[in-house]
Symmetry: C4
Subunit: 180 residues, 4 copies
Amino acid sequence: MENFKEKLTRVEAFVFDVDGVFTDGGLVPLADGDFVRTYHARDGYAVTYAVSEGYSIYIITGGRGETLKRRFDMLKVTGFYPNVADKCAVLRELAEREGLNLANVVYMGDDIPDLGVMRMVGIPVCPADACHEIIDTAIYVSQYAGGKGCVRDIIEQVLRAKGDWLKHTVGMHTVKEGEK
Amino acid sequence: MENFKEKLTRVEAFVFDVDGVFTDGGLVPLADGDFVRTYHARDGYAVTYAVSEGYSIYIITGGRGETLKRRFDMLKVTGFYPNVADKCAVLRELAEREGLNLANVVYMGDDIPDLGVMRMVGIPVCPADACHEIIDTAIYVSQYAGGKGCVRDIIEQVLRAKGDWLKHTVGMHTVKEGEK
Amino acid sequence: MENFKEKLTRVEAFVFDVDGVFTDGGLVPLADGDFVRTYHARDGYAVTYAVSEGYSIYIITGGRGETLKRRFDMLKVTGFYPNVADKCAVLRELAEREGLNLANVVYMGDDIPDLGVMRMVGIPVCPADACHEIIDTAIYVSQYAGGKGCVRDIIEQVLRAKGDWLKHTVGMHTVKEGEK
Amino acid sequence: MENFKEKLTRVEAFVFDVDGVFTDGGLVPLADGDFVRTYHARDGYAVTYAVSEGYSIYIITGGRGETLKRRFDMLKVTGFYPNVADKCAVLRELAEREGLNLANVVYMGDDIPDLGVMRMVGIPVCPADACHEIIDTAIYVSQYAGGKGCVRDIIEQVLRAKGDWLKHTVGMHTVKEGEK
């Protein structure tokens, strides 16, 4: 049977939930109806770097709002699907349109609304503090919690498995930066 | 004597305090006099799901402000009582009006202003980090702290006891989502 | 020699620093030059309750800004001294004006700017995570960190020593609330 | 071979990254495109004190925005370089212009974009929770995480090594304060 590291070398795309994955689950409603969320700079670096290396990164979230959109615009993700009630339907369409083999897709989620999608992909993963149903479904549980580097962790693992991590940061003069 | 799980099968309604229960107790005053608070996405999911399954969820809080109100409007709670000085009076009225048997009501609070109400209901519960007087009064102390999933924990336990948890998330195509 | 609990029965007033005591030290500068800080609801309850019981609570801080002032107005503290460069001078004046015996004053601070004042009072105390110089100077180190209940802890201890804690919360109908 | 403490006595300047060093890596994007970050009051005190004692403190960051600039203006740092894509180039220019010997410069960073600069200076240090590549490169790993006092830690160690820490806070009447 194929092990986890071998699976990583076949990854075609990453799909991420937002709340509880890019964040610690904390939601701060503001008076104007928008929400603010706290992201982690090191996750942001990994996303930007992976995209610049040609990786596809999709966001599928039930969340919405201008600030949320802006964050993922800034990170230059491949696709951003907010306000999603049925994640399975969105992922199925996305896979068809882009010709993705779901067996080679990483999905990282943390809560019940992610359960269905976790079962659709070949590489379901989750943060250290995902809900127990998700932890039972994941083939890899990051040592990092949501908002504390779990996104960075899985991106780094895939890029290492493919030989793409730190490829452009070996010399002193070629440091690449995302938002930092 | 009836055990905790048996009590849960008789739950008629949930009543929650806000600060220290839905949040970690953190309060961020803004210049305009409003406060911002940080909620947890997984608590929000549980509240929305339980209400959609027909459960009654009431909020009784000494807090006030537009942002607070907006949060609980969004979660579609059954009743929202802000700016309350005497929680016992509000709960008594509520129980009479709705015909609730207080023996079958869950109340989750964390601090001294909750002591009286904790003693009024049959199922007083609290977050892991409630003040010691509250912990002494609760019949169940969640392993989760305020703002870190204690609301989700008690809702999930009641819905599991009644066979309503994950009822609509078994298949891949029926994932229900709250705000996510 | 008098022990800590005996000292507490003689307390005439509380003096608190803000950053690192009422907060975890976190400062969030905003674009308009103001700062936001995260306070703890249970500290707020204790301050409001103690003041309503007739205790004197003073704030002496190097911090400034409208939001800071508003917070302590709301808690109805006895005196609020912001933007202070020399805390010793302010405390000395305050003590003279109010006729306070510094031997019976509690001061809680967390950092170097508090060192001088800690040495002026009879009951210097600090949060669990104060800087090491302050910890060396305090006669009592709370088990709670700044922003996590250290203010509540020392207030509760003094009021318990004097028989004033929970005095008005014994019955169900006399729950007193601060901002909650 | 020279040990760490001896190196500290030769420090000519401090250079700091911002995200993950002055902060815990948390980034809160706002609707207007700016970011808010949470700084630590005790780091702020150390920076202000060191600068007032004549130390040079530079900030080199990939971050940008009005709020970020305002924070370091307020701390009166010696130089502030935002929006930097190539930290090595900026540091090299800075060193030439100011006549700094890079062997005697402290650099504290936490992530891949800091790797190149960490290798340029004689005293590369990092927070407890830096990424593993940075931890491997640092000659000193603070026991404090980013945003939790790691800046204060390295400044205090250098100033102690040079006999400048607490120099102006021995007496009660000469407490110096930064923003507190």
